[in-house]
């Protein structure tokens, strides 16, 4: 109780919002229809996927537009073992294993670059996975995909699977929250703000980026495993550029470098796509328009923009607490560096 009273207003609000999210998350299957619960499960899966992108984009300043390649690799790993009669443990280990291997190979290729170079390389990597998925018939089933990848019986009911997704998202989200507040995480921010300076301080920036990529890829692999069991089906559509791009859009829409924002972005995009798809005729056009509008008019995203408003509203009081101030500064305000990651930054021509 004493700890609670000593907390800043901002921290209290955050705690209340977190508690509300947990209560809402647990209560959801009792309130919504089975169809909607499945849609929310998918939103949770994409929330984890978007968070994994944000771990790289928001903290290390490395925007990957090929993460769907990692998600799909893990999903195909599960699917391949499942269609060849492997057990659930083998399926999941295979999925996470090939996802991790893909992440390591991708990381080795991309780790010496940054900014747009990094983005281009990851885009090509993601597209190559897509190319394999439509051509390598013997493993991926090409356009037909792999079917009947059944969930483990313990979570086969839609609401049980929903709770599993929720739990995994909370655990992985918690892990990422710890990672970005660890010395390693602050090292990543250093990379984002000025790689030169971090290198001068004696850090091996290449190795740092390698670890960050592999960690992010591992979380993306987990989302891939959840994804394939959610649909019980995997096809090349999962590896498309559209999926990677949508993941980045979720991050940008929610707020780069906030971790929570990407989950909110994933909810908005997934709910609109699945709930309004009957009314929304041209979905990719809508996505593209949202992308353009967000970047031009809301570069901080929803969470970034709202927390700015909140800080302005609470005034100096919110800033007075050093603890929250550092956490928030790091997460939500503009880093001053030239080479910072996102559209939060107004400089950085990158010459």
């Amino acid at each position: 109780m004493r700890r609670l009273t000593s907390m800043s207003l901002t921290a209290k609000v955050k705690l209340i919002l977190l508690a509300a999210a947990i209560v809402a998350g647990v209560a959801l299957p009792y309130v919504l229809s089975p169809f909607l619960v499945s849609v929310v499960s998918l939103a949770l899966v994409f929330g984890l996927f978007a968070m994994s992108i944000d771990l790289l984009a928001g903290f290390a300043g490395l925007v990957s537009v090929g993460h769907a390649g990692i998600l799909a690799t893990a999903a195909y790993g599960v699917g391949y073992v499942a269609t060849h009669g492997g057990g659930y443990v083998a399926q999941i280990l295979a999925g996470l294993g090939v996802g991790l291997v893909a992440s390591i190979v991708f990381a080795l290729m991309a780790m010496r670059t940054s900014r747009v170079y990094f983005l281009l390389i990851t885009l090509a990597q993601g597209m190559i996975v897509w190319g394999l998925s439509i051509r390598l018939y013997s493993i991926t089933g090409a356009e037909n995909g792999l079917r009947d990848i059944l969930r483990p019986s313990a979570v086969s009911a839609y609401w049980k699977y929903y709770y599993l997704c929720l739990a995994v998202l909370f655990v992985c989200g918690g892990l990422m929250w710890v990672i970005v507040r660890s010395p390693f995480g602050y090292g990543l921010r250093g990379l984002r703000d000025s790689e030169e300076r971090v290198r001068m301080l004696g850090y091996n920036t290449t190795l740092h980026k390698f670890y960050a990529f592999v960690l992010s890829g591992f979380f993306a692999s987990i989302s891939g495993v959840l994804f394939v069991y959610q649909n019980e089906y995997i096809s090349p559509a999962a590896a498309e550029f559209l999926v990677s791009g949508t993941g980045v859009l979720m991050v940008v829409l929610g707020g780069v470098g906030t971790l929570v924002g990407p989950v909110i972005g994933a909810f908005i995009i997934t709910l609109i796509e699945n709930e309004l798809s009957a009314y929304v005729e041209r979905w990719p056009t809508v996505l593209g328009a949202v992308f353009i509008i967000t970047i031009l008019f809301a570069p901080n995203g929803l969470v970034g923009g709202l927390s700015r408003l909140w800080r302005r509203w609470t005034g100096p009081r919110g800033r007075g607490e050093p603890e929250t101030a550092t956490a928030e500064e790091a997460a939500e305000t503009e880093p001053a560096g030239r080479s910072a990651p996102s559209h939060q930054i107004s400089t950085g021509g990158g010459k």
């Binding site: 925007v63 537009v65 190979v105 080795l108 290729m109 991309a110 010496r112 670059t113 900014r115 747009v116 170079y117 983005l119 281009l120 390389i121 885009l123 090509a124 990597q125 597209m127 190559i128 897509w130 190319g131 394999l132 051509r135 390598l136 018939y137 013997s138 498309e240 550029f241 559209l242 791009g245 980045v248 859009l249 940008v252 041209r282 979905w283 990719p284 056009t285 996505l287 593209g288 328009a289 949202v290 992308f291 353009i292 970047i295 031009l296 570069p299 990651p341 996102s342 559209h343 930054i345 107004s346 400089t347 950085g348 021509g349 990158g350 010459k351």
Partner: protein, 286 residues
């Protein structure tokens, strides 16, 4: 490997390389000057090809179709540069992300307008048919594409190194502020280069539409090839784009013939090798 197989695949590779150079040179010029990575470049290609296709249906003239496709995309590119990219000029990440949004919209709108069935443009009469090369007969048009690629490359080199406009663009690459201070309207130069890059993309759409199908998804697929070209050759380097185009064209044509299941994947190995040795490409500079 027999001689005719080898010859045919080499020519296939070089003509595909010619097309890739048309596409990648615009991409790399825009990056070199403006530091904008235009991921809508593949969509520009597709839209150009489709507009050319429709023009050809109406007028029956291939060269008019090529011109209309290229000019229409140049106008589209000018809109993207002036209206959408200008407010965020100089911020490289928002710029590239915005072009992803543009790529989504253009890809989807061309699906809405031209439908999902693959279309191909007919080749003008005097360029159709084959050329007898002794061991094998090879399509005349494919040879034309390879020659066109080389011709455009030479023209671009001449433009860059022997004309005033080229000097301004090269100076802009090296020091934007300085060239602006000397009284050059650098904004106009930016728009001009972006327009020119879009023009080349639209043109390559019409050319590519004759031997590669125009179909939803072809925009992203051709973008991948252009990306691998510039990753290998070095972003912003015209000679790099030429080397990269030839490499990617040859690798892809032999891979398609020898290991069709892995044909995309074969781009992966050269990319990995180059990235390990030279992260910024063969001729790229930081």
């Amino acid at each position: 490997m027999s001689v005719d197989f080898f010859l045919t695949q080499t020519l296939n590779g070089l003509s595909f390389g010619g097309l890739l150079f048309l596409l990648a040179s615009g991409f790399t010029l825009v990056f070199g000057l403006m530091r904008i990575v235009n991921l809508a470049h593949g969509a520009f290609y597709l839209v150009g090809g489709y507009i050319g296709f429709t023009t050809l249906l109406v007028t029956g003239n291939f060269w008019l179709a090529a011109l209309v496709g290229a000019v229409a995309v140049a106008v589209l590119g000018t809109f993207v540069e002036r209206v959408l990219l200008r407010p965020i000029r100089g911020q490289d990440m928002p710029e590239v992300l915005l072009t992803i949004g543009v790529a989504f919209v253009l890809g989807d709108l061309s699906l809405a307008i031209w439908g999902g069935d693959p279309v191909q443009l007919p080749i003008p009469g005097y360029l159709s048919g084959g050329v007898d090369l002794g061991v094998v007969s090879y399509p005349r048009f494919r040879i034309f594409v390879a020659v066109l690629g080389v011709a455009v490359g030479v023209a671009l080199w001449f433009l860059q190194h022997r004309t005033r406009v080229g000097a301004i663009v090269r100076a802009g690459v090296d020091d934007r502020e300085m060239i602006a201070a000397l009284g050059v309207n650098i904004r106009l130069v930016f728009t001009g280069v972006f327009l020119f890059g879009a023009f080349l993309a639209g043109l390559s759409g019409v050319i590519g539409g004759t031997f590669l199908s125009l179909v939803p998804g072809a925009d992203i697929e051709i973008l991948l090839f252009a990306l691998v070209v510039v990753i290998l050759g070095g972003l912003g380097s015209l000679p790099g784009a030429a080397i990269g185009s030839a490499l990617v064209g040859l690798i892809d044509s032999f891979a398609r013939a020898l290991v069709p299941e892995l044909s995309f994947f074969t781009l992966f190995a050269p990319m990995a090798i180059v990235l390990v040795l030279r992260p910024h490409g063969l001729l790229g500079r930081r």
